[in-house]
Symmetry: C2
Subunit: 340 residues, 2 copies
Amino acid sequence: MLTERQRMILNAIVDDYIRSAEPVGSRSISKRGGVGFSPATIRNEMADLEDLGFLEQPHTSAGRVPSTKGYRYYVDHLVKLGEVSEQELERIRHFMADKMNQMEQVIQHAATILSNLTNYTSIVLGPETFNNSLKHFQLVPLNESTAVAIIVTNTGHVENRTVSIPGGVDMSEIEKVTRILNEKLVGVPFSRLRSRLYTEVGQELGRYVSHYEEFLDVLGNVLAGEQDHRVFVSGTSNMLIQPEFKDVEKVKTLLDLFDEQPALIKLVSANPGIQVKIGSENDHEAINNCSLITATYSIAGQSLGTIGILGPTRMEYGKVISLLDVLSKDMAVMYGKWYK
Amino acid sequence: MLTERQRMILNAIVDDYIRSAEPVGSRSISKRGGVGFSPATIRNEMADLEDLGFLEQPHTSAGRVPSTKGYRYYVDHLVKLGEVSEQELERIRHFMADKMNQMEQVIQHAATILSNLTNYTSIVLGPETFNNSLKHFQLVPLNESTAVAIIVTNTGHVENRTVSIPGGVDMSEIEKVTRILNEKLVGVPFSRLRSRLYTEVGQELGRYVSHYEEFLDVLGNVLAGEQDHRVFVSGTSNMLIQPEFKDVEKVKTLLDLFDEQPALIKLVSANPGIQVKIGSENDHEAINNCSLITATYSIAGQSLGTIGILGPTRMEYGKVISLLDVLSKDMAVMYGKWYK
DNA sequence: CGTTAGCACTCATTAACGTAGAGTGCTAAT
DNA sequence: ATTAGCACTCTACGTTAATGAGTGCTAACG
């Protein structure tokens, strides 16, 4: 239906337009590498393609834009599937491996709610899990090859993970494993859990349980899942809507800041109660024309974490403060329940 | 330090500026209800407030804008805490009550990743849970007053919830409860689980277990948690960045669409494999200048759900298609593991 | 005959310019 | 102490003209 050259030109136009969002002219196609025709020739072909319905012209003397039919042809016949970059793959794999624990869920969820309710950017900091320790461990068999591992931390979190049981392990052995792990590991901080598992528990396990090496690997993975992704940012793009961020440069420095976890944590870590930092009062110069309102949530006087709202200095202080007040108390209650 | 009138004027200026993001003039303050001074008087006070450092002037003959010091005074002395509206409270409460189940987490997480990787809007549809049923139930006591309830569905999901045990219930009773529930409820669809619990299980439980009424309530809540929030949208604001959505009206109709779950589900529900719908090919007119790429993920030929990317017709088809391909396969594998 | 250089023409984008209007500061009257 | 009045300043906006990107057509070229 289309000549080879027409296909090539259509392809070039669609590619260009996808990149630039601007009508594509004959000259820019001609200048492209690997074309080898003059603008005039391209123009003739473009007129033909327009007659055939693949291209459209917003107005005379603008370049061409693909029509629905043009995109359709492109998708059906021309598009080259992009390589999924190593970095993207990495992120997908990571996401697949990454089951958030309950605490992280709550933090992220809270961040989302806050940014939705306020239309500002929210930054939520979870409690330090650094010196959390294991309080209780249990393996519940579901069938011959699967079990649920339940982990209770000293702060009262309950996590579960589905694990596969190495072949040839029977019920009584699972009970033994559970007993040994509780004996040896209760009270040990998560940071040292894994090394302890391999040193102390390993040999002990070997005495009672067959296949204990594979088992160790499984357990090691289960217990290692307790890192601390503590800070979640949500609603970054809400900033972009604010008129004070028409300037693209400011936006960029801000987005860079959001990617630097340590800087963020430092920024949001704050004294107990509700704190308001306005404009130049903020330490970080990227947010010198922003205000940051933070509220800590705590239980029995012990500070757990912080939730914060970042907006332009022109921020609805009254609304945000009362919202943070409510939410911080609710989060405290929530953790309180887990703490038991 | 400030006279009553100055405070009032400062307050008015800050309030106005927060609303409008535009410098505030003396006339508009004077016209406000409850002021009762002429613009000239206001001007004099404003000049004083500027001398004191509470206000700033972008240029002569513009209105005044609060300075950092001005905001500070406002926050410390003037701000009226907003009422948290009933609707907002509702959302917070709802969030607190709402523990997502694992499936929902994965769906939402996938949606987030996708919108981040592509900078388009992602719409992810989870598998229908409508006729899922209970496969296995287990109560694991943690201490005298708390236990973990583990629920396994016929599709292989494992969920856990922490529950509090009514006082005066001992271990052996918990075992009995677990046994009875498994006897009576395994194979029952979640939609009918709750009514079954109260009718059939109730009396049976009463025979063996003390305090069975409180217990029933707890169990009812646990089993009721299996609703189906099936669709998640992420990166809505990515649309706003695209130049084709400079027009605010288009944005609005789009955002409205995102709020209508049934319409969304209809839109995204699609035939197996990767589908591309371009511009006017889409059924819904709100996205007539958008393209929607959907991919189903399935196991053993049975379709589980759909993931979709919505962007301008000028979309990076090649990149998105290959990304969807990878992710849909990965999600199938993921569910596959749970299904086991 | 396919290709290309050249040219007149179109139309959006941009800069230049002038005007309207919002807002101020100051002075004088109340 | 307050306010009306007025001259002054500076931005925002609309108008107009110039610019330039891009086209379609014609004629020349290999």
